[in-house]
Symmetry: C2
Subunit: 231 residues, 2 copies
Amino acid sequence: MRAGRLGERLAGLVQPQRSAAELAAASLREAIMLGELLPGERVAEEDLLRPLGISRNTLREAFRLLAHEKLLEHQFNRGVFVRTVDANDVEDLFRVRRLIEVPALANSTTEDWSTMTEAVQTGLTAATRGEWTEVGTANIRFHQAIVAAAGSRRLDELMCQLTAELRLAFHGMGDPRTFHESYLHRNNEIATLTANGDLARATTLLTTYLDDAEREMTTAFRAAGRGCPQA
Amino acid sequence: MRAGRLGERLAGLVQPQRSAAELAAASLREAIMLGELLPGERVAEEDLLRPLGISRNTLREAFRLLAHEKLLEHQFNRGVFVRTVDANDVEDLFRVRRLIEVPALANSTTEDWSTMTEAVQTGLTAATRGEWTEVGTANIRFHQAIVAAAGSRRLDELMCQLTAELRLAFHGMGDPRTFHESYLHRNNEIATLTANGDLARATTLLTTYLDDAEREMTTAFRAAGRGCPQA
DNA sequence: TCTTGTCGTATTGTTGAACGATCCCCACAC
DNA sequence: GTGTGGGGATCGTTCAACAATACGACAAGA
């Protein structure tokens, strides 16, 4: 019995052994997120075998992992490409966000909003230092905290994937400052309202936030001629 | 331009070329859904190379595909196992369903409820013939139609995965008749209410439906001693 | 009896090379 | 300009091999 309790206590500590493919996928994920690999760019197998130091099969495995995360796009017999997010995707992403985040916040039973308020604070301090990518990640963490209030593992996973796509979409936007800056204080408002238990006003604010953010992104995309593939 | 329009017209018809791994995954998916591979059962690579007639790498690729669908569970250096769904999973699944289906139905803008009513009808006729697995799939299609009302590709994908897990959970239930039969007329009620535009009553009915179904499943699981792994 | 250490075996993880299949590009004929 | 091959590059798949790991059995010690 003692071993059982010990194992239970350590269950959260042990990190599962990661395969070579997962490690390679982590490298590629980083490269995509940092913009070293641009959307639409072709990612040839041959070019990555050396830099990553893995075999072709393992690399293909890594490709598959990232394709599942919608960071890469796999075309049969043609290879993999960095995913391009168009205006339609942005529209769909925000449609899902509205449908997930708002009810998650409205029906939340949690009392612990520490991660949410922390995300807001790191965002604010990062803004004063002008670290706008940091502001972006803080913003994402804020919204992940909202979804986390639902207390569902699967929903957290979904949100994780959505935010990865959103990050990809950010690359299509212009100046990150003008984009992120305007939402900083709105996040703060939402966070304080939720912490005070005023979920009704918090959810309405969240809704308008999502509407505005979507409008800004889709107009920016359409202006940049990235409306939709066959338009 | 002509090619573009033609491609657009045929876009729905052409089925993308499927790799050997995807075909193998389809076979395995079928076997899991039909219960030929039982939850928790180990699925050794060696045992499937011959029957599927593919190489080891391709088989491992198929494993990964199914692992991503949460039908298989991959344990490093130990192999893959048919996924076991416990009471905690059921709880989480229904938590997500509540948060997705109810708002999807409440905020639906669709006027076309044909797929939903069709699903209900096929369920009813299948019940008269005693084809209970068919009733189960019709039930699933009904709820997928609810989510489809949100009009989001990503949400449809999520729902598809959730239902796959639910199907897996059904294996843990006893008599499919007593389980599915009671929900047939409730689906019908919800469908008629939505078709008549009374979304308010439809959503309340859907909520109680989900509550009851969850209670029934979790109690059945706990009674069968499949509460949760380390309890 | 229970725990711990050791070892052999089976299975998985990863590699590298090979071959057929498919796509893309380009020269060529009409 | 349009259609038709061909060649090269890349991908899909297979195969064989070796390394790394887990599992079961068995023995030694408390």
